[in-house]
């Protein structure tokens, strides 16, 4: 489903907006990547889309519905899932308990829960093997996989990925991007923010550049691949 952000203004303090009128569209079934220098407001944008921050101006539309006010706890039901920056596993709970919390919104619907579990264990056999391990004792790469797997359990249509490869060693970064590639094939609408500009542009269909809370450039991936060195030079 298409996600549209229109003229979004938001900040942690009213007088200092981080986003100063950002507009972008993550088209249905495509990967849209947002890049930009530090402080451009990329993560703030995803946080606002997921409802952690309330915009002081502008709208967020998912499949045409206004969602800026519904708050994070209703987002999975709306069909949007969010991979937050940093750790989002529950470290002192087992892999299985983490996945159970992933289908929290199916509470009381045993059938839907079981279906989600058998599908996730089929798709990620490593998680099935480690189901009784505490999430905190998994390796960094395995934790990331658990987080990504948990994201899709309730059958969302749109995924927001905030820095999916940050803090991982190069080999694991490749694995994470392979996984995002698989999600792309499954036709999720994906909006990605990542420090790893090169990797993220490779899987992108469409790219937006933000600068100091405002739109800077945007265009289809092919266009960006050539102009990338020039754009990055501008940031420095």
């Amino acid at each position: 489903m298409t996600l549209e952000v229109r003229d979004l203004v938001v900040g942690y303090v009213k007088e200092v907006p981080i986003l100063r009128g950002v507009t972008l569209t993550a088209a249905d079934g495509l990967v849209t990547v947002i890049i930009g220098p530090n402080g451009a407001g990329k993560s703030t944008l995803l946080k606002t889309v997921y409802g952690y921050l309330k915009p002081s101006r502008g709208t967020v539309l998912h499949d045409g519905r206004e969602i800026a006010q519904i708050g994070p706890k209703n987002m999975l039901r709306e069909g949007i899932a969010y991979l937050m920056q940093g750790h989002s596993v529950f470290p002192r709970m087992s892999v299985e308990e983490n996945l159970e919390l992933g289908v929290w919104i199916f509470r009381g619907n045993r059938e839907a829960k079981q279906r989600a579990f058998s599908e996730i264990y089929q798709r990620y056999p490593r998680l099935a093997e480690k189901r009784h391990t505490l999430a905190g004792s998994l390796s960094g790469g395995e934790q990331r996989m658990l987080e990504i797997a948990r994201l899709t359990m309730t059958g969302p249509k749109t995924l927001l990925l905030d820095e999916p490869s940050v803090g991982l060693m190069p080999k694991l970064v490749d694995e994470v991007y392979e996984e995002i590639g698989r999600l792309k094939k499954r036709r999720f609408t994906i909006l990605v923010v990542d420090q790893n500009v090169k990797k993220s542009i490779e899987i992108a269909d469409y790219v937006y550049v933000l600068k100091l809370g405002e739109n800077s450039h945007h265009g289809p991936q092919a266009e960006f691949k050539e102009r990338l060195p020039e754009i990055i030079r501008e940031w420095l």
Binding site: K73, S88, M93, W104
Partner: protein, 302 residues
């Protein structure tokens, strides 16, 4: 002092039981405090007043209405569950919406204020008399030279059962898992659709119910009066520090341990020294194991 006294099984059992009875109160109080701290980041200094409301509820049900003691225990737990949820929704949640950067200090001021308010309210409504019940049940279990009153056995059994139920609730039920998730990563819990505001409310209710239950359970030792909660709160704050802030199993073990240590101190030194010993233990823990007895120096827990 006569050393033979220490090897006398009846004396040892007496001290140990005294310690375990006090310790089970500490454990119930401190596990509630720790739970509330772990989820809401609030150090609830009004926890002793929840204990006090529990004692009054017990007195009302058992002495005034002449109902069996079990009814008093259940009523105290239920009343405090509701009172706790009201405090969370009406005061703590309201403060959270308006709080500045220093949440610990803000909530500290709130709960200290609540403590003073509830103490004085009790003074106005009930007066300063001590309303006690001599014992919930009479009689003793006699095994050879060892005498154990049924009263103490009941206190220990109820405390043990409560701790067991609390553990099973947190470990196996959906609301219990939501509590753990919220403690470990509140933002992620919210992202998965867990209503963390509701978790806050029933966690506070649960902690309050534990305080109310311990107030009711110990009515034969601590009669109901407006400031009866002072000693329990001071000791359970110490227990929470010993067990590790926010770590419920730590609070339970540390509570029982402190009860027994105090009983031995009371017996071997003289009355009053047990408080010095407790304070000394807290200071030592803060220096050498600031995250509690059961965590590593870096704060990692099993």
């Amino acid at each position: 002092m006569d050393l033979a006294m220490y090897t006398d099984p009846s004396v040892l059992t007496e001290i140990l039981l005294q310690g375990l009875v006090r310790g089970s109160m500490y454990a119930l109080m401190a596990s509630g405090l720790s739970l509330i701290f772990g989820i809401l980041g609030v150090n609830n200094f009004a926890h002793g007043e929840l204990f006090m409301i529990g004692s009054y509820t017990m007195f009302f049900i058992v002495a005034t209405l002449q109902l069996p003691f079990v009814a008093g225990l259940v009523a105290a737990a239920l009343v405090l569950f509701l009172v706790g949820m009201l405090i969370e929704r009406g005061l703590i949640e309201q403060l959270r919406k308006r709080a500045g950067r220093d949440w610990l200090l803000d909530s500290f001021v709130l709960t200290i204020g609540l403590m003073i308010l509830l103490q004085n309210l009790a003074l106005v409504v009930f007066g300063s008399n001590r309303l006690g019940i001599p014992e919930m049940v009479s009689g003793s279990l006699i095994i050879g030279s060892i005498i154990i009153s049924y009263e103490r056995l009941i206190i220990l059994a109820v405390a043990a059962l409560t701790v067991l139920l609390l553990w099973a609730f947190i470990r196996f039920t959906a609301p219990g898992k939501a509590i753990r998730a919220t403690a470990q990563n509140p933002e992620a819990a919210l992202a998965l659709g867990i209503d963390t505001m509701r978790v806050h409310t029933y966690t506070f209710g649960l902690g309050a119910a534990l305080a109310g239950l311990s107030g009711a359970l110990l009515i034969s030792i601590f009669p109901a009066y407006p400031t009866v909660g002072l000693q329990p709160i001071v000791k359970s704050v110490a227990v929470v520090i010993l067990g590790g802030l926010g770590y419920v199993p730590g609070a339970i073990v540390a509570g029982l341990l402190l009860g027994v240590i105090e009983a031995f101190a009371y017996f071997t030194m003289s009355a009053g020294w047990q408080n010095v010993l407790t304070a000394a233990l807290v200071v030592l823990i803060m220096i050498f194991r600031p995250y509690g007895l059961f965590s590593s120096a870096k704060g990692e827990r099993p």
